[in-house]
Subunit: 337 residues, 2 copies
DNA sequence: ATCATAAGCTAAAACCATTTACTAAAAATA
DNA sequence: TATTTTTAGTAAATGGTTTTAGCTTATGAT
């Protein structure tokens, strides 16, 4: 059996009280003789004593941990996001627990419950399948601080977001300026609000430039993944467009393969533009023109805002919007006549 | 403040004792009136009561959780691995906590300590930087069940591994059969034991085929990542080989870009072979010839063996070796004369 | 009417670490 | 010397849940 060393054992071996050990190990008091302090520390090392966090969390009523639920850890976007979270959490001595919800709202709710039950101090939820019910029921009733990514309308709380509308404008403007007159947008049917904003921006830009969106844009629904992009290839080809905007980079990479399989060359035959700026975009052929989001920074800020909120529940609502920028690479060119 | 609903509150509102609520919610007894049972369940829903796992874990002396430390969540190999772990863990009602050690043994040790302190029942460590000291000091002294991936010599405990030596044979045999006579191997300097086994297999095969390994093989050291593969391009070109074996797929993908930047075509000028079988290999150009490991299955089994061990600490040592197979795609061809 | 059994429920101990409020002894001050 | 202050430490309460052992009251059998 996993018998773990307890503070009581350590205290007994050191010949002092449990209180003394606790105080010393937590640096809560300098009222002990350097002799005692040294003895306790030495024993801690020798016994490899690690405090029982369950007991500690129980009494302190906090786990010093935050929960993170993303749709898909396999998407480099989210692993960068998690990297950012890990970095900041560690500075604040919080431990982040990461889960992949796999676009399954049941699974997601399961993780949320587990996390709350285990005393998680707050949650970062970046997921398309989180429901209003989960938020109101579980999060609010248990009064857990939380931060929703990419689901702004659901959230009257803290937010970290990027300029999605601007991103949409940038994409449209760039594609139009290259001379494209028929453009497909590949987008999931259960698009999160931030993705919908990209489309709004795109449409606005088309109109701004004095064109009729109905004549320019074809919308193709497909799951938000490499597989989804791959599957969209047929529809893209049928739509006879000269350029495609996939609302994330993973889809663009999937689409590359779908098009290649059907003998279509990117960008010679069809230009492709992604969104996110995952570094994988520079490793594919042709290198992907895209909109760069400050991904890791978003993770850092998400952790920072959440921990702020945990530590000072009554501060004002925190909303941060980060800029995006266009990265011109090789996947977009002027359309063939 | 994060006031959470407690069992006491629930009991009070239901007009029964805490014991009763506990028994009912855990299905530990059927000796209650259906009336009481219904009342308790209804209140649970209404209040959104979630048991405090810290208290539960404290008394039960188990956290129903396992810790997972991988070198790099961003590598699709490990996200698939984690997927497998998540699936099985959930079946057994264990919660897996995943961390990316980033090849930093300090960071890794930090996570290991945090996990143990928080009552994790066991650990899966898939990492190159774990040290013998950490294992003996922290894991063994605290008698935590653990399972090491890819570090067989360090582990006298349960193991899940793949046929790395066979994999090495397959690679060498394939490249030689295609007619390559000068081959570079790109490998990290801090290679884990499984990677070293691949090299052993490779070398053996070269010898088996009656050739002098010194004449055939050039070894190039480089970090185990896309960046590492990219950086190895120069050395690969200088070595004047006709084929390269990178010991994982990520490196191969990085190498693609490095070679392309220098005007070298794969496979026309240089053939490239990877190892792992991440699905990304089918999305790059040219599609990557590689050795397929049953990645997600490895995660499933890792979780299964570990949970076995947690539940029955005294069972015999468990060692499972899974097969690998060669996937012929487009990145290897016969060398130019 | 009496005893045994079952049904329905509960009190209290235990898990481990932290914290508050205290004590005893030694040292400093008057 | 008498008093205060400092030093070095401790006892006991606390947190939420589970579990063991047991307690009532109602029902059934004799």
């Amino acid at each position: 059996m996993t018998h773990k060393v307890t503070i009581k054992e350590l205290a007994a071996k050191a010949g002092v009280s449990v209180t003394t050990v606790s105080q010393i190990l937590n640096g809560k008091s300098n009222r002990f003789s350097s002799d005692t302090i040294a003895r306790v520390h030495k024993l801690q090392d020798k016994l490899n004593y690690i405090p029982n966090f369950n007991a500690r969390n129980l009494i302190l009523n906090e786990a010093k941990s935050i929960g993170v639920v993303v749709p898909n850890i396999g998407n480099p976007f989210f692993s960068s996001f998690i990297d950012g979270i890990q970095k900041v959490s560690r500075d604040f001595e919080y431990l982040p627990f990461n889960f992949s919800g796999d676009n399954d709202s049941q699974l997601e709710e399961y993780y949320v419950e587990q996390l709350i039950g285990r005393g998680t101090n707050g949650l970062i939820i970046a997921s398309s399948s989180i429901t209003k019910e989960t938020i109101d029921g579980i999060l609010k009733k248990n009064r857990i601080p939380y931060l929703l990514m990419d689901q702004n309308p659901l959230s009257d709380g803290d937010q970290i977001r990027t300029s999605d509308e601007t991103g949409g404008h940038l994409v449209a403007n760039y594609l139009l300026s290259m001379g494209h007159k028929r453009i497909a947008i590949v987008v999931p049917s259960n698009a999160t609000s931030n993705i919908r904003l990209r489309l709004t921006g795109f449409r606005e830009e088309v109109i701004n430039q004095g064109m009729d969106p109905e004549q320019i844009i074809t919308v193709i629904n497909s799951p938000l993944s490499k597989t989804g992009g791959f599957a969209a290839a047929g529809a893209v080809i049928n739509s006879e467009v000269t350029a495609v905007f996939t609302v994330n980079d993973e889809m663009a990479i999937g689409l590359y393969r779908g098009l290649k399989n059907k003998g279509i060359q990117v960008p010679t035959d069809i230009s492709v533009m992604g969104y996110d700026g995952i570094d994988l975009g520079t490793y594919v052929e042709p290198e992907l023109t895209t909109i760069q989001q400050p991904i890791s920074r978003m993770g850092e800020l998400a952790a920072q805002l959440l921990i702020n909120r945990i530590q000072k529940p009554n501060i004002d609502r925190q909303v941060i919007e980060l800029p995006v920028r266009l990265i011109e690479r090789k996947s977009v060119t002027v359309p063939k006549k």
